[in-house]
Symmetry: C2
Subunit: 230 residues, 2 copies
């Protein structure tokens, strides 16, 4: 029989996975909104980001409650503390998906991007959604191999990001300056979204093994390697 | 006499304040490197960001140790959990300062920005450093009034960011597309740096009062209000 503590811990895990599920949907819908320059879709992303934020408070309260009332140790403690961290990462993923949608709303009825830039952003959006789906599975299964897979799939996103920056900063770019700025910021939002899924994976590896695989590497690697020297 | 627990908690607080101090120095030096296109200064930022990362592990371990061995409750518990959150925010501030420095290194010996864009970025860098200084004082004093002040000072940074984006996306911009992209991303780094200091302030308000003042508002407000519609 499961203890009351473990039931509550399962509930916390389930809520975190739900936040991740919503973040996946948010980035998917935001990308769809971007491709179609679709205002209602962009507005749906705002709703989804709000739903994610609504889960934030209960998760933080539940983690605090588990720490205060149960004084967990060892892996149980790591799991609650990991939960505290994850809430911030998952909430940020919702915020980043919303930034994509805000960009669509601001330029509507025009497309924010077109041609090859739009194509690359669409691919980034798809990979970002897949990464969030993978992160959700990691949260539900605590499978460290799956968690490590998030990191390698994120390399694909970084590669697309590099290509995007090479495109807009290269001589072949025929778009306007404001369009290039929009595309650069959109690329950054997707890339940061991916980084947060990598951090989710790393935090779950820490939870299972007690070993930290440099949780910030997703951050530091993203920019120094992510931008061409041209 | 202070208990062993409170001594360790003070030590954690002191380390967090040191991370913030280093983040302030990092953003200050990065801005100086930006203004002068100075490679050694940019490289010093990388060192500072590394020093911040080196404090990360000990802070996280100490927070875990305090939770595992002492099972704190009420305000003591909130203080440790706040510490867990703050480590992530402070580490990110170091990462963002490094992004500014990386941009300087990539364009060296050229200046990343010039004219009015450079001037606005310099002002953003100065406000960002002041915000980090304020956040450090908040961490050391736990003064909720000072914590609230961070939010209002950050408005200044948001205003500069808006002006920067208006400049590079407006008809008066005579720089190249790559220059505009660089400036847009630099503006984003400074603005996010400021947001993290706001979150530090909000978390300290939570610590003192037990009330959450929407810790993510710094995130959601930054983009939806931060970019002109033009």
């Amino acid at each position: 029989m499961r203890t009351k503590f473990h039931e509550q811990l399962d509930e916390l895990t389930d809520r975190l996975a739900s936040m991740c599920h919503l973040a996946r949907e948010a980035v998917q819908v935001a990308t769809e909104a971007l491709v179609r320059a679709d205002l209602p879709l962009a507005e749906r992303v705002v709703d989804l980001a709000e739903q994610i934020e609504e889960l934030r408070g209960p998760c933080e309260d539940q983690a605090l409650g588990l720490l205060a009332l149960q004084a967990p140790v060892a892996r149980d403690l790591r799991q609650v503390v990991t939960g505290v961290h994850l809430v911030a990462d998952l909430s940020r993923m919702g915020g980043l998906a919303q930034h994509v949608a805000d960009s669509v709303r601001r330029r509507h009825p025009d497309h924010v991007a077109c041609g090859e830039a739009e194509e690359l952003l669409t691919r980034m959006g798809r990979v970002a959604a897949e990464l969030a789906g993978l992160a959700e599975r990691v949260l539900r299964t605590h499978d460290p191999e799956l968690a490590a897979e998030v990191g390698s799939r994120d390399d694909e996103l970084d590669d697309l990001h590099r290509r995007l920056l090479t495109l807009i900063q290269g001589p072949a770019w025929t778009g306007s300056v404001p369009a290039a700025v929009d595309v650069a910021l959109l690329g950054r939002f997707y890339e940061r979204f991916g980084d947060h899924t990598v951090v989710v994976g790393r935090r779950v590896i820490f939870l299972v093994t007690g070993t930290v695989l440099n949780p910030s590497a997703g951050h530091s690697a993203e920019w120094s390697e992510g931008v061409p020297a041209t």
